[in-house]
């Protein structure tokens, strides 16, 4: 007979991606007891396999307060998590391929002007001078000098490791298999070996967070997506900026070792947990990459991969308190863009968990936006009793 280990704690977190792990770390820094359950290894999913773009430029304005908060955390990364995770403020350059693109980039620069992103529009001779390696299709672009890139394989697990060093109980290879709420305390179980009891539960289960929300009457239209990624062999270093393209499509960056990491298009799901880059996506990436960076013409791809990420229809996350269940807090659905804001989200989740509210505006991410009004109202009155 197996004995069930029971742990009583202040906060339980499900999911050890960058959201869950940075929340655990932020909570420990506030002195709060926390237990995190990760069914696999921390940072082994989206958070560890993403492209590594650490960019604010291009985000919806509603996300910019969060992105700015995260930007501060990124600045102190080595002190916080014990590694620089290859984080560099190398600049993020968004390429325009037409006058319409340039107009859109200019409009974004104006729209985000309250947030001090330092965006510079570059075109014509200046562009050719600063980046002779750009192919002919680029007519100009928009540079955010303090945006950059990092190595997600290193950064995300390091958040979990730092949280553990700070006293969080990080339980890896420990899937949450069921959860109950008795009105005051959540009991999160992993099979019949573990029960974690806590008055507060944070749902950071990434693309798999929907089931937990649904169990508490908050089914949201979340679906999985699989960005396609590829990397070249090391090439002589030529490109400092991380590149994106206005209107989407391809993005790429060169790491210090010389490899170019490229993303764009969609991969295919192998099953609910795993995905890989798809052949046609790799081919499309290749065409666009050579067009953008002629220097890649004679390079080789040495690896391709993908990941599984949660998307909501408006491509905004669900971040905030449950509408139905006191003590339940959600942080999921980052639509392929959660890496940069992750450390900010962690702090916000920690505030919500301990103080019940956050100093960063997050109303745009409330789960209510997906709940039928009537149900939501009924639920909220129920919760008030």
């Amino acid at each position: 007979m197996t004995t069930t280990r029971t742990i009583d704690t202040d906060i339980a977190i499900v999911g050890g991606g960058i959201m869950g792990a940075s929340a655990a770390l932020a909570l420990r820094r506030k002195g709060v007891a926390v237990v995190l359950l990760e069914r696999d290894l921390c940072g082994s999913r989206s958070s560890g396999v993403n492209y590594g773009g650490v960019r604010r430029q291009g985000r919806p304005v509603s996300q910019l307060p969060l992105a700015q908060r995260a930007h501060q955390v990124w600045a102190n990364l080595p002190a916080l998590i014990g590694t620089d995770g290859e984080y560099q403020r190398s600049g993020h350059f968004k390429i325009g391929r037409s006058e319409a693109d340039m107009a859109a980039l200019e409009a974004y620069a104006n729209l985000s002007s309250d947030f001090d992103l330092g965006i510079q529009l570059i075109s014509g001779a200046t562009l050719r001078e600063r980046c002779p390696w750009l192919g002919g299709r680029a007519v100009g672009g928009s540079l955010c000098p303090d945006d950059g890139q990092a190595n997600p394989r290193l950064v995300s697990p390091a958040f979990a490791l730092a949280a553990r060093r700070a006293g969080a109980q990080i339980l890896e290879r420990t899937p949450m298999t069921s959860v109950e709420h008795d009105g005051k305390v959540f009991t999160v179980r992993s099979g019949n070996t573990l029960a974690v009891r806590a008055p507060v539960l944070i749902n950071c289960a990434g693309a798999w967070a929907g089931a937990l929300a649904a169990q508490f009457g908050e089914a949201v239209p979340i679906h999985s997506g699989h960005p396609a990624m590829a990397v070249t062999e090391p090439l002589p270093f030529f490109m400092h900026w991380s590149l994106g393209v206005e209107g989407g499509g391809i993005y790429c960056r060169q790491v210090a070792r010389g490899n170019l990491v490229l993303g764009g298009g969609a991969g295919v799901a192998l099953d609910a947990d795993r995905a890989r880059s798809e052949r046609s996506a790799i081919a499309t990436l290749a065409v666009q990459a050579v067009e953008l960076l002629p220097a890649l013409k004679n390079a080789h791809f040495i690896r391709t991969w993908s990941g599984t990420e949660g998307y909501l229809p408006d491509r905004q996350p669900v971040l905030g308190k449950s509408h139905t269940t006191p003590g339940l807090i959600h942080g999921f659905g980052f639509a392929g863009a959660g890496f940069q804001i992750g450390p900010g989200v962690g702090e916000v989740l920690a505030e919500l968990a301990r103080d019940g509210r956050s100093t960063t505006p997050i109303d745009a991410f409330a789960i209510e936006r997906f709940l039928p009004t009537t149900v939501a109202e009924v639920a909220s009155t129920a919760a008030a009793h």
Binding site: L161, L270, R276, R279, T284, V290, I302
Partner: protein, 462 residues
């Protein structure tokens, strides 16, 4: 009844792939045969470019008649198969293979309903300090140079490691007029003695092995067993090998080194196709699972030859034929059941000999213990044993994919096909886990690096 639409694809034109193709053709089925090499024959019966004039006797020695037989079988099949030479299968998913044609640098997608993977093996490498110096080759690489290009890796060579190929390559090199400065076998003489009973089940093969050893001795080649490689020495290229007999160190001057520890299966294709893997203790590797006929866990995908576990060339021929029979039977084609049973019997009967070989040339299980921290394990990414150990210790990595994520081991051009074995041994030792428990690197396309440019061309042409 022959299903008229049946056009299976065979990957690999070594002994396994060729016999599979022959069997399919004999049953009225026309297969596609895709092989990375320029000419059929596989590793053991690798053919030199057509204009080379050396005779089979010089090239294949005692295996000359088998080689010519297999080559002529393959040549005779040409009008009945769709043969794609110089073609690397670089990616696979259910029902589709992506194939890169080397000479024209184009890629194309080949659909399949049934697939026989006969992808063979490559050397199993365990690094030794200095192994990245110019002049150092794998044993198989040294042999390929001889067979394919008709040249040797040096004038005065040391051959080191363990496995049957060690003595075979030494013999072939000496016969070709190269000075073999020493053969350094990490297996002990006592290992060879305890292996005898198993080896005696294939007396002819055993006799061949003993013949090579006797011939080398008779020709004054220094043979040492129970050695521990210490380092390969040199400034700009190798000039000596230092080894230990447990008591003291010895230095053998040389200008080239061939080294390797038997072979490892090429399993990436099976992995990309989603075949289930399991730990195979005899092979000390995670291998795709298959039944006695070669059926994998994925319907329509069959395995044959060294790519499913190192069993040697004869077994590869039998397994190729057996897999083809299974494929045919699974599609309602009438096959000779007695022949199928006989092939399975032959394959089973080979097991004691295979076990004997493992006993005679055991994997040097103490390799990881002795690997110095400064030893480069992954040469693509320049990752040392010390970095791998530190990662296990400080970051708690206890599984291969995590080790890869954190250190970059296996992330370079070879994708772990060379460094994976050594890295797993280091990780197992560092974590105190049994070797099977550290898992295996997940396969990722492309199987080998593919030119971006080529991709672009193919797409634009569509």
């Amino acid at each position: 009844m022959t299903a008229p639409t049946l056009q299976p694809v065979i990957v690999g034109a070594g002994p396994a792939g060729i016999r599979a193709a022959q069997t399919l053709v004999a049953h009225g089925v026309r297969p596609v045969v895709i092989d990375e090499a320029a000419r059929g024959g596989g590793q053991i019966y690798r053919r030199p470019p057509a204009h080379f004039a050396r005779n089979p006797q010089t090239l294949y020695g005692t295996e000359a008649s088998r080689a010519t037989d297999l080559h002529s079988v393959f040549d005779s099949l040409q009008t009945q198969i769709d043969y794609q030479a110089d073609s690397l299968v670089w990616n696979a998913q259910a029902g589709l293979l992506d194939v890169l044609h080397g000479p024209t640098q184009t890629t194309r997608t080949v659909p399949y309903g049934q697939l026989i993977v006969a992808s063979g093996a490559t050397d199993r490498v365990l690094p030794v300090p200095g192994w990245t110096l110019p002049g150092v080759y794998t044993l198989g690489g040294a042999q390929v140079a001889l067979k394919f290009q008709g040249c040797t890796i040096g004038r005065n060579v040391v051959l080191m490691g363990t496995g049957p190929l060690l003595y075979l390559v030494a013999y072939q090199y000496a016969k070709a007029g190269t000075t073999v400065a020493a053969v350094l076998d990490t297996a002990r003489f006592a290992d060879q003695l305890t292996a005898l009973p198993g080896m005696l089940t294939q007396p002819a093969v055993l006799a061949k092995g003993l013949y090579y050893v006797g011939w080398l001795r008779a020709h004054g080649v220094a043979l040492h067993t129970g050695v521990r490689p210490v380092r390969i020495q040199g400034d700009t290229r190798v000039n000596a090998v230092v080894w230990s007999d447990g008591q003291r160190e010895h230095t053998v001057p040389c200008d080239a080194v061939g080294f390797g520890y038997a072979l490892r299966s090429e399993t990436q294709l099976a992995d990309l196709l989603g075949c289930q893997f399991a730990w195979a203790p005899m092979h000390r590797a995670h291998l795709p699972e298959r039944d006695g006929a070669g059926r994998t866990s994925v319907a329509g995908v069959y395995l044959a030859g060294d790519g499913a576990g190192i069993m040697g060339a004869d077994a590869a021929e039998w397994a190729g034929e057996r897999a083809a029979l299974a494929l045919l039977a699974d599609h309602g084609v009438k096959v000779d059941a007695a022949r199928a049973a006989e092939l399975e019997r032959k394959l089973t009967k080979l097991m004691p000999f295979r076990q004997g070989l493992e006993r005679a040339f055991p994997f040097p299980a103490d390799w990881a213990v002795n690997a110095p921290d400064a030893l480069v394990v992954c040469r693509c990414e320049n990752i040392t044993a010390g970095e791998l150990r530190a990662c296990a210790r400080d970051a708690g990595a206890d599984e291969m994919n995590r080790l890869k994520a954190l250190t970059r081991v296996g992330m370079g051009r070879c994708q772990g096909r060379m460094c994976g074995v050594g890295a797993a041994e280091i990780l197992a030792h560092a974590t105190g886990k049994p070797i099977d428990a550290v898992g295996r690197l997940r396969g990722q396309a492309p199987i080998k690096p593919i030119p971006i440019h080529l991709q672009a061309q193919a797409e634009a042409a569509e």
